[in-house]
């Protein structure tokens, strides 16, 4: 009897367990070690409104929201990677390469420097909004500039256009940080390198909501993205509405990447490495990849954040540097192995 279906539950549960373990580790370790019983006391004291100890305060106000943000940021970036790769039919595409991250960073830094002048304000949503707008514009720019007349997408022109648009956006960010006064300039620099040190409960809630909502919507497109693996005309014959699919998937990636980037800055290569690892484990079904990448993305970014916090403790390294150090070799490896895709 042929085995004609795949059960992903075991892989998903394994990834979920690993995620929980890494999450707990990232709660405990950092500049200050927080013991498990302190976690327990802090929660108890919080609800019984007893005065909190210093470590308990650190745990509740800093460590916990940061760990949660980290999981959701990693999940967002990895899911965006899966979506973009499926859409462009290429395993070496990544949100950082097609302008989304740098566009979001530009939008965010414009808001930080000029927001006060233009009285542009929408509460806690201002920053994600500005970043999403920047990310969306940059991505659409790359998408349309690299679109060939026959409707196909050449990966080379995509990557080259991505480089150009990234350069424009990053020089815009540079200009903004040149114009900015000290506290603003500092936050802009931090975005470029990526850091979770600024995350609080707002970050955790907003990024978490965006990740969960986008995951649920993205799963509805998994089947159509699978069909797209056979090419656009085959997908069409399999009943896929291509225009709607493309717009929806680009919108999803922009929201995912821009929201994450707005709070933690440019973190590259998570969207590249995670889907690749998952394909090695159990194939290319996008339903599996989306859920798997949410879990594994959260795990890997938590690990990277742990490393960023521990390597120079009590100071910390920008997390974008950690992911780039790991990601660049993987990217070059994939590029060399997949030369026939270019």
């Amino acid at each position: 009897m042929l085995q004609l279906s795949r059960r992903y539950t075991s892989v998903w549960s394994f990834l979920a367990i690993v995620l929980i373990v890494i999450f707990l580790l990232s709660l405990c370790f950092g500049a200050i070690v927080i013991r498990p019983e302190e976690v327990f006391y802090s929660v108890r004291n919080y609800f019984s409104s007893n005065p909190l100890q210093l470590n308990e305060r650190i745990f509740l106000d800093i460590r916990l929201p940061r760990a949660i943000s980290c999981v959701f940021v990693g999940a967002s970036l990895a899911m965006a990677g899966v979506l973009m790769q499926a859409l462009f039919r290429n395993p070496i595409v990544e949100p950082g390469l097609v302008g989304t991250s740098s566009g979001a960073a530009l939008g965010a830094s414009l808001y930080f420097v000029l927001g006060a002048t233009f009285k542009f304000n929408a509460g806690v949503w201002t920053l994600p909004l500005a970043a999403s707008l920047g990310g969306a514009l940059a991505t659409l720019l790359v998408f349309f500039l690299s679109h060939r007349l026959d409707g196909r997408q050449s990966v080379i022109s995509l990557l080259l256009t991505g480089i150009a648009v990234n350069a424009i956006c990053l020089s815009g960010v540079g200009l903004m940080s040149y114009l900015a006064r000290d506290p603003q300039a500092r936050s802009i620099t931090f975005w470029n390198l990526g850091t979770l040190s600024g995350s609080n409960w707002n970050t955790a809630i907003i990024v978490g909501l965006s990740a969960l909502v986008c995951l649920i919507i993205a799963l509805r497109f998994a089947k159509e993205l699978n069909a797209l693996a056979m090419g656009e005309s085959e997908a069409l014959h399999l009943g896929v509405h291509l225009g709607r699919l493309k717009i929806s998937v680009i919108a999803l990636t922009v929201v995912l990447v821009a929201t994450a980037t707005a709070f933690v800055g440019v973190i590259s290569f998570v969207g590249l490495i995670v889907p690749h690892l998952l394909r090695l484990i159990k194939g290319s079904d996008n339903r599996y990849l989306l859920i798997g990448s949410a879990l594994l993305g959260g795990t890997l970014l938590s690990l990277a954040d742990l490393a960023a916090r521990l390597m120079l403790a009590p100071a910390e390294l920008p997390i974008g540097i950690v992911t780039s150090v790991v990601g660049v070799p993987v990217f070059i490896f994939l590029l060399r192995r997949n030369q026939h895709y270019l």
């Binding site: 042929l2 004609l4 039919r89 089947k223 056979m230 069409l236 399999l238 009943g239 339903r287």
Partner: protein, 258 residues
Amino acid sequence: MPLRLDNLTVQINSRKLLDGISVVFEPGKMNLIIGPNGSGKSTLIKAASKQIAMSEGSVKYGQQEIDSLSYQQLAKFRAVLSQNTDVAFPLKVWEVVMLGRSPHFVSSPGSFDLHAVEEAMNYFDVSAMADRDYFTLSGGERQRVNFARVLAQVWFPHPGQMRYLLLDEPLTFLDVNYQYQFMHKLQKLAEKKDIVIVGVVHDLNLAARFGDQISLLNEGKILAHGSASEVLTKENIRKAFHIQPEIFQHNELVFISF
């Protein structure tokens, strides 16, 4: 409920790729399309499958105008085998075949779909490679897997609804054994009265041997239309292909040599 093309015209810039094609493809028959390179065979398949827009005329699946059908509706009863299909990510053979079922399920395949995939793979003899990576297959093997995928898409009959199979050069990459095997299997499918089969072939002898109704295209127009002996005449072949054939008849079979 045939597939009916009426005055089908496809014009790109000022060039007419198809020029007023009117033809009816009946169920229960092998409808084959032949013609020289650039005569519009692939364009005809693309226009008939809504992949490209037509400039004039109409395409009707039974009573339904193609413009009134969404891609999703079409995909439930009409499958298309295109030229040069490639896969962007590593997929197992059965996963490729399962893609053919995707118009029929919501998020993940059910037992009906598994059943169709299994039988379509058996039908085209690719069950043995079900677990292999599609990337590792040869051109001919891939082609057979794609047959299975396309057939899986329209595997189950729908009461009151014809099924349509449009095949653009299905015989590419196949050796002579598989070419004949495939044509025999297609002939068997054509015996089912609810399937309309339209195929583009290059080999005139294969067309002569298997075609119940042959359409010879030339410069975007139908040069001749009918049975093998009506269409494959010296005159027609010379006009379309600019080569002088020898034609032999033996027991109602037509053989062409150059």
